[in-house]
C-alpha cells in the first residue's frame, strides 16, 4: 500500500520511476510489452533497408544506409536493455519475437521494392516514429525515457537522410521522380496507421496516458505528423496520394482520407505482404547462428574454469 502510494506520487509529480522502485504489475507488464515491441521493431526494421545495401546506387548512399541500419541494431540493443531492467531477459524477449507471440511495427511487413523506398521509409516511417517517440523521451519509466532521448536524436538524422534521398530523386530524371512518387504512394497510408487506431477504438491508450507513458493520443500524434508531411511534400515537389487532404480551419484539424484499418488489422494478424519473410529471416539468422553462440558460451565457460583453477 505504501509502495503504491509512493508510485502514485512519483507519477503525480511527473517524476521518473527507476528499476529499483516498486511498480504495479500492470505498469511493468505494459511497459515490458511496449519497450520490447519497440526493440523488435528496430530489429525487424533493419530488413527492408538491408535489402538495398548491396544495391545502393552510389557509394555515399551505401555508406549512409549501412550506418543507418547499424544504428537500428544499436537502438534494438538499448531498448532490450531497458526492457531487461523490467525483469524479462533478452533471450526470452527474442523467443517471443521468433515464435510470433510478440508484435513489432506493422509497417515493416511491407516490402522495400525500390531504392526510393529508402527515402520514403526515412522520411515517412522514421518521421512517424519520431512523432511517436519524442513525447516518449519524457516517459515515466527512467531507462525507457533515456533510451528514447538517444534514439530520437539519431532518428531525426535518419529522417533528414530519407528526405534528402527523395529530394535527389525528385530533382533527378523522370524515372527517378516516378520512383520517388511511387514509394511515397505506397508508404503514405501505412505510415499514418503507425499511430494506431483512432482514439475511440484505442482502449489501452487512456491507462498509458494516466501512467505518463503516453503523452498524446493516437489521433493527436497523427495530426501533427500529417501537418508536417503535408508541408514537406511541397518542398519535395511530390504529392501525397490523398486528394481529400486539407486543413479544416474551422475544426482546426487536418482532414485525410479514410485509412484502410481492415488491411492494418490483417497485417497485424500476420497477413501482410512480407510478415512471413521477415520472421523467417530472423529465425534463419538465429538458427544458423546457434553453433556460434554455443561455441562462444563453451569458450567462455572454459575460460572461467581455467581462471578458477
Amino acid at each position: 500500500e505504501q509502495a503504491q502510494a509512493r508510485f502514485d506520487a512519483l507519477i503525480d509529480k511527473d517524476s521518473r520511476v527507476e528499476p529499483r522502485d516498486w511498480m504495479p504489475a500492470p505498469y511493468r507488464k505494459t511497459l515490458t510489452r511496449q519497450v520490447s515491441q519497440h526493440a523488435h521493431s528496430e530489429i525487424i526494421g533493419m530488413q527492408p533497408e538491408a535489402n538495398w545495401i548491396t544495391r545502393a546506387p552510389s557509394l555515399k548512399r551505401k555508406s549512409i544506409l549501412m550506418a543507418k541500419v547499424q544504428d537500428e541494431a544499436g537502438h534494438g540493443l538499448y531498448l532490450y536493455s531497458a526492457a531487461e531492467t523490467l525483469g524479462t531477459p533478452r533471450d526470452e524477449l527474442n523467443e517471443q519475437l521468433l515464435t510470433g507471440r510478440a508484435k513489432y511495427s506493422s509497417i515493416f511487413n511491407y516490402p522495400a521494392r525500390s531504392w526510393a523506398d529508402m527515402g520514403a521509409i526515412g522520411w515517412l516511417v522514421d518521421g512517424a516514429a519520431i512523432a511517436n517517440q519524442v513525447p516518449l523521451c519524457r516517459a515515466s519509466y527512467g531507462p525507457y525515457g533515456r533510451a528514447m532521448v538517444r534514439i530520437c536524436k539519431e532518428e531525426s538524422f535518419h529522417q533528414r537522410q530519407g528526405f534528402e534521398i527523395l529530394l535527389s530523386l525528385s530533382r533527378g530524371t523522370e524515372a527517378q521522380k516516378k520512383m520517388a512518387q511511387d514509394a511515397v504512394n505506397r508508404f503514405y497510408e501505412p505510415s499514418l496507421m503507425m499511430f494506431g487506431p483512432p482514439d475511440d477504438q484505442s482502449p489501452n491508450s487512456k491507462q498509458s496516458m494516466a501512467w505518463n507513458i503516453k503523452r498524446f493520443s493516437n489521433d493527436e500524434l497523427r495530426q501533427r505528423f500529417v501537418g508536417m508531411i503535408a508541408e514537406q511534400v511541397k518542398v519535395l515537389g511530390l504529392t501525397l496520394p490523398d486528394p481529400e487532404l486539407r486543413f479544416d480551419e474551422e475544426k482546426k484539424q487536418w482532414i485525410h482520407k479514410d485509412l484502410n484499418w481492415d488491411e492494418f488489422m490483417a497485417v497485424i494478424k500476420g497477413n501482410g505482404p512480407v510478415n512471413a519473410q521477415r520472421l523467417e529471416r530472423r529465425r534463419e539468422a538465429h538458427r544458423e547462428g546457434a553453433w556460434v553462440r554455443e561455441a562462444a558460451a563453451a569458450y567462455a565457460a572454459k575460460q572461467a574454469q581455467s581462471e578458477v583453477a
Binding site: 544495391r55 557509394l59 555508406s63 541494431a73 532490450y80 539468422a285 553453433w291 556460434v292
Partner: protein, 245 residues
C-alpha cells in the same frame, strides 16, 4: 600520376568488394552484437574503398562512383580472397582474419609512403583495421576452442580459403614501378606468416595443406564470383546512366 592512381585502384577495389561481401551480414548475424560489429567493419572498409577510389579517380578524371559502378569485371583489380563467398560465420571470420592481418601490415607500411595522400589514408585506416584484426582474432580463438563443431567449421573455413593466400603477396609490375610509393606485397609475407601462425596456434588450429590457386585478380583475371557480385552491386546505378542520387 597514372601509376599511383592504378595502385590506389587496387587497394580501393579490394576494400570495395570486401565491404560488399561483409555488408550482407547486416541483419543476418548470429547475434545482434555481431550485426553491429560486422557492420562497423564493413562501414570502415567501405570508407577506405571510397578514399582510395576517390584518389585514384582524381588522376583519371573520374568519381568514386564512376569507378565502382561503371567498370567491367576485367577492369577490376581485386584479389580473389575478397571475392570469396561469406559462407557460414566461420568462413567470414577466417577471411577477415587473413585480410585484416594483411591490411594492418600493409597500411602500417603505406603510412610511410612517399605519396602523401596514400600515406594519410593508410594512417587513418590502420587504426580501424587494428580493431578489425582484434575482432577476428578474438572470434578465431573462441570458435577454434569453443566446441567440436565450431573447431571443425573453422578447419573447413581455413581449407577453402587458404588457396587464395599466395596471391595476396604477389608483386606485380605496378608495385615495382613505384618503389617509394607502393608497398611491395612480398615484403609483408614473413610478418603475416608469423602473425597468423601465432593466432591459429592460440586457437588450436593449423595452417591447412592446400594447393594455391593461380589467381591474378590484379590483372583483371577474377574468380567466378566477381561477375555475380558486380551484377548485384551495379544493377541500379546502371539502369539510370548519368543520374544523381
Amino acid at each position: 600520376s597514372d601509376e599511383v592512381a592504378a595502385y590506389a585502384l587496387t587497394l580501393g577495389d579490394d576494400s570495395l568488394i570486401l565491404a560488399q561481401r561483409l555488408s550482407h551480414w547486416i541483419s543476418r548475424g548470429p547475434e545482434l552484437e555481431e550485426d553491429i560489429a560486422l557492420g562497423n567493419i564493413a562501414l570502415d572498409v567501405l570508407g577506405h574503398a571510397r578514399s582510395f577510389l576517390t584518389y585514384a579517380g582524381l588522376a583519371m578524371g573520374k568519381t568514386e562512383d564512376d569507378l565502382a559502378y561503371w567498370r567491367e569485371e576485367e577492369e577490376f583489380t581485386s584479389l580473389w580472397m575478397v571475392e570469396q563467398p561469406n559462407g557460414h560465420f566461420g568462413v567470414t571470420i577466417v577471411r577477415q582474419l587473413i585480410l585484416s592481418i594483411y591490411q594492418h601490415l600493409l597500411y602500417s607500411k603505406l603510412a610511410e609512403s612517399a605519396d602523401e595522400t596514400l600515406a594519410a589514408i593508410a594512417a587513418k585506416a590502420v587504426k580501424e583495421v587494428d580493431y578489425h584484426r582484434d575482432h577476428s582474432i578474438m572470434w578465431t580463438i573462441r570458435l577454434g576452442l569453443g566446441t567440436e563443431e565450431s573447431a571443425e567449421k573453422m578447419r573447413h573455413a581455413l581449407e577453402i580459403l587458404w588457396p587464395y593466400v599466395d596471391e595476396m603477396f604477389l608483386d606485380e609490375e605496378i608495385h615495382r614501378t613505384l618503389p617509394e610509393v607502393a608497398v611491395l606485397p612480398s615484403s609483408l609475407r614473413e610478418d603475416w606468416d608469423k602473425e597468423i601462425s601465432a593466432v591459429l596456434a592460440d586457437a588450436g588450429l593449423e595452417i591447412p595443406a592446400t594447393g594455391q590457386a593461380m589467381a591474378h585478380g590484379r590483372r583483371g583475371e577474377h574468380s567466378e564470383h566477381l561477375g555475380y557480385i558486380l551484377a548485384e552491386m551495379q544493377v541500379l546505378a546502371r539502369k539510370h546512366p548519368g543520374a544523381t542520387w
